[in-house]
């Protein structure tokens, strides 16, 4: 970067912070409309079976109940909750209400009533008779029992195989194999899932959603209800977090249906138990890795087999599996890589999109495995990784694309120094009740979806009569400051303060087509679109200024809202005066609309270091220190970039140590609320340090790359590796709840009381 940046790289709060701290902001769950009805779903209490009969007469008789729906009086058409554009290839296996129920929490019926309390009371009056089928609760069971198909095409939903490079001679090398299990977890966005829809008497429909992509919502609803797209308006409203859990369209189709049928406004708000049971979870995975290594630590061969538990429906899991096969070669140079992935239906909660989209799952397995390799070779884990990490501008053999200015090596080297790795690793682990250990893990992720489909974004920007600006874009603020990011980028290009730029959120009627806020595409793809759009607008301003100042465009410079003639600074005109010049002569043309197509998909990287203290008596692990290093290209909003890491580490520690949605023999989870779903709270969070590596060598705006997902990719592995270092164990079944730690200590010689 040669130029000095005025706004990029500074720190700003999220755009709606003032309304957030005053409690004024109206979130999805706060929405209320006159005459609005309330819906409540009847969820399957059994894991697998057929609905033999539904008797809703008593519910319908309850005063205040408007309608009751089930598979008997609703479309039997199937849809895919993860489809984001029409015709997109995906597994279409879900209906609004199930006759064949496939997990505890599957939608069986819905009541629409004049109040929430009445809807709840009415749901309890619906009588459903089920014929139970064997519940297949693990992927092994599901694969074994071909005679019990969860879906018509069988229980093996999808298979994927990737191979790159050539097998090399591994004789004399060290062979290591490991199996890592990652748990099914709840996203636990603090605001529960909610949707409000208004059915219009004209047959049109408006949907207010806390989704991460309004255009996808429109696609799924329009196709399901047979509505023309222009009569269906989907509006993004403020939401209390998502983390992928609101990427797929879970409540929107059913709420839209209820509103459309009743021609009323209908609100469907889940409680926490419903969110846990009946929305979606991060998929449980099991990955077996076999590697061959030269004695000096160079990886010669890497073979992996992953089984991913899709739960009762496919949702996005096939795509998730594809992505799990695209992580390892983004991180390590491998002469030969072979990865088989299978996705299996089970009678457990539906799995799908979750922060990191396969990367936390896969990288956890890889990084735990590499520590095992390091132990076998008696190599320091940092040294082992340094021998194998990719280098800037390596070509990823799997995608055949450049990894861009990938600075993972620098992250590791600088992090190791900042963390004082060598000294801390050499320090005694302790022999007594409390043992200390340190762990490191590297992680790789992507920047958008280029390579999978035509990754693009659309934006329009205009100048107002007073010299302020409005950006029209389909942004979805999930809490990570995407609106602010766009404002900063536009501000930097135009040379005005970000507060002079307004940017709204997505609305299919008013903002241009965009896939949504997911897939680590906002900063890199949408941000680049914002940059290009702002540049185009700036040209329009300069063209107008040339006329006003009667000087050639080439001689003009814009600074802080004023255009000057270079070398004759006295000749200047402010943006506002350009707007108002000659009865707004130029203003109508001071607008820009851009469609930006991504042309690259570099890697984003993070290397993280954890220090833990394990209580060998209680099995409780305290994370006592943590360093996250991120190769982010360039921090647009520095404070928020660091805050993304801090929050991601909270989630990653939970992934490593506490969080899991287990099911019992009947397929029902004992987890029904935050009382038994334990997330890290303030007393247990270490003070996280964040170190940013910035090289701005790729195509993102001002060189920026994605942050929100990569930030949590290596966290769990760093923690697990630290625990294994502390205890001399090889634990790899997450989460490392105290019971598992105690069991491992009891099993390992000398660990007993």
């Amino acid at each position: 970067m040669t130029e000095d940046l005025r706004y990029v790289g500074k720190s700003y709060p999220v755009h709606d912070v003032a309304q957030k701290v005053t409690g004024e902001l109206v979130y999805g769950s706060d929405l209320n409309f006159p005459g609005m009805l309330h819906a409540k779903l009847l969820l399957s209490p059994i894991a697998h079976g057929m609905v033999r009969s539904v008797d809703s007469s008593r519910a319908e008789a309850l005063p205040g109940v408007i309608r009751v729906f089930s598979h008997l009086n609703s479309p039997a058409d199937t849809y895919c909750r993860a489809r984001i554009y029409p015709g997109q290839e995906c597994a279409i296996d879900e209906t609004l209400f199930s006759e064949h129920v496939r997990f505890v929490g599957d939608r069986v019926a819905a009541v629409v009533a004049t109040s929430q309390a009445i809807a709840e009371a009415a749901v309890a009056l619906i009588e459903v008779d089920y014929e139970e089928l064997p519940a297949l609760l693990t992927t092994e069971q599901a694969l074994e029992r071909a005679d019990v198909p969860i879906h018509a095409d069988g229980n093996l939903l999808y298979e994927h195989h990737i191979e790159s490079g050539e097998r090399v001679d591994t004789s004399g090398g060290v062979l290591v194999s490991s199996t890592t299990g990652t748990p099914r977890v709840h996203h636990a966005a603090l605001e529960p899932h909610v949707c409000v829809a208004q059915g219009h008497s004209t047959g049109g429909l408006t949907v207010w959603t806390t989704s991460q992509g309004v255009y996808g919502v429109r696609t799924v609803i329009a196709e399901l209800l047979g509505l023309e797209y222009h009569r269906l308006r989907v509006i993004k409203v403020p939401m209390g977090g998502s983390f992928g859990g609101k990427t797929e369209f879970i409540l929107e189709p059913v709420t839209a249906f209820l509103a459309h049928e009743t021609r009323r406004a209908v609100k469907l708000l889940f409680d926490r138990e419903e969110c846990i049971r009946a929305t979606m979870v991060r998929p449980a995975t099991e990955t077996t890795i076999r590697t061959a290594c030269a004695a000096d630590g160079r990886l010669l061969d890497f073979e992996a087999a992953t089984t991913l538990d899709s739960g009762g429906y496919a949702a996005s899991t096939p795509d998730y599996a594809d992505h799990m096969c695209e992580k390892v070669t983004r991180l390590y140079r491998l002469p030969h890589y072979d990865h088989r992935c299978q996705v299996v239906y089970t009678n457990t909660p539906v799995a799908g999109a979750a922060r990191g989209w396969g990367a936390p799952e896969m990288i956890t397995a890889v990084e735990i495995h590499l520590d095992k390799v390091a132990r076998r070779l008696r190599l320091d884990p940092v040294d082992l990784r340094l021998k194998n990490l990719i280098q800037p501008f390596d070509i990823d053999p799997v995608t055949d694309m450049s990894l861009g200015d990938a600075r993972v090596v620098e992250c590791l080297e600088r992090g190791a120094v900042a963390f004082d790795w060598t000294a801390r690793r050499a320090r005694a682990r302790g022999k007594g009740r409390y043992r200390r250990g340190v762990g490191v893990a590297c992680g790789a992720h992507k920047n958008g979806m280029f390579g999978h489909f035509p990754e693009a974004s659309n934006m329009a920007l205009k100048m107002n009569e007073d010299g302020t600006f409005e950006l029209s874009a389909s942004l979805h603020e999930v809490g990570c400051g995407v609106v602010t990011t766009m404002k900063i980028i536009v501000a930097e290009v135009l040379g005005v303060h970000p507060d002079l730029i307004a940017a709204g959120e997505a609305d299919t009627s008013t903002t241009p087509f965009d896939y949504g806020t997911f897939g680590s595409r906002m900063t890199y793809v949408a941000g680049a679109c914002a940059e290009v759009t702002a540049k185009k607008l700036k040209s329009a301003i300069l063209a107008a200024a040339a006329d006003v100042l009667q000087a050639p465009v080439e001689e003009l410079v814009a600074r802080e809202g004023v255009v000057y003639v270079a070398g004759a600074e006295a000749r200047s005109v402010a943006f506002r005066d350009i707007a108002r010049f000659g009865d707004m002569k130029h203003l109508p043309a001071i607008r820009a609309a851009v469609t930006y197509y991504a042309t690259s998909n570099p890697g984003s990287y993070s290397v993280q270091f954890a220090e833990v203290e394990v209580d060998c008596a209680t099995g409780l692990t305290a994370v006592t220190d943590f360093l996250a290093v991120g190769d982010v290209g360039r921090a647009i909003n520095r404070g928020m970039v660091k805050a993304q890491f801090q929050g991601a580490v909270q989630m990653g520690i939970g992934y490593a140590l506490y969080e899991h949605v287990d099911v019992d023999e009947a397929g029902r989870s004992g987890v029904d609320g935050f009382k038994n779903y334990h997330m890290v709270n303030a007393p247990d969070m270490p003070d996280i340090d964040v170190l940013l590596v910035e090289h701005e060598g790729d195509h993102g705006p001002f060189g920026a790359k994605s942050v929100g997902e990569i930030a949590m990719v290596p966290t769990a592995a760093a923690v697990v590796n630290a625990v294994n270092n502390a205890l001399g164990t090889e634990l790899s079944d997450l989460p490392l709840i105290p019971d598992r730690i105690i069991a491992a200590l009891a099993a390992s010689a000398g660990g007993g009381a």
């Binding site: 912070v17 805050a643 609320g673 303030a682």
Partner: protein, 184 residues
């Protein structure tokens, strides 16, 4: 039944079922939707309000329990129109992301500072233990509370950036520098 409740210094007369929770009355009857419901079981703290000077979870308290008491909600913090110091520090320290935990965090922190004007980091973390945040990792929140207590803080290199920039921007001809905090 009819209830007389004092909320943010105003006496409200509302009719509610006897088993109505305080959160329901605040949100549904009074329209004070700044108080959020994240779990409904006392675990997440999003519903925290202050009753007679003490932080409580309004989701596990019935409205009748607040009769004759002073209830303070997030809407009451900036009652004079100016942000409370605590709110201001939450803004400056980057303590807010999705913001759903924020009202509850603010109320727990407010109750802490009312009882203990100079809390240690440990005190702050203990006071906020019943407030879950899924976005921030708590670091900036703890820093904001610390800053609000007038103690030095090291969390984010954010503050005052904005004021400085706004001052700079007093360029003739440019749009007025009186800006709506936080945009749209």
């Amino acid at each position: 039944m009819e209830l007389l409740l004092t909320v943010n210094g105003t006496v409200w007369e509302v009719s509610a079922r006897p088993t109505a929770r305080l959160i329901d009355v605040l949100r549904d009857q009074m329209g004070l939707s700044g108080t959020k419901e994240g779990c409904g079981e006392g675990e997440c703290g999003a519903c925290t309000v202050i009753v007679d000077g003490k932080a409580v979870n309004s989701c596990v308290m019935l409205a009748v329990q607040a009769l004759g008491k002073e209830v303070l909600t997030v809407e009451g913090l900036a009652a004079s129109g100016e942000l409370d110091t605590l709110q201001q520090k939450f803004v400056e320290q980057g303590a807010v992301q999705c913001g759903f935990c924020t009202p509850g965090m603010l109320m727990s922190a407010k109750a802490l500072l009312m009882a203990n004007p100079l809390p240690s980091d440990q005190d702050i973390r203990t006071a906020l233990a019943g407030n879950l945040c899924r976005c921030t990792g708590y670091k900036n929140i703890v820093a904001a509370v610390r800053a609000a207590s007038g103690q030095e803080t090291v969390a984010m290199e954010v503050p005052s950036e904005k004021e400085e920039l706004l001052a700079d921007l007093a360029v003739p001809g440019l749009a007025p520098a009186k800006l709506d905090e936080g945009g749209e």
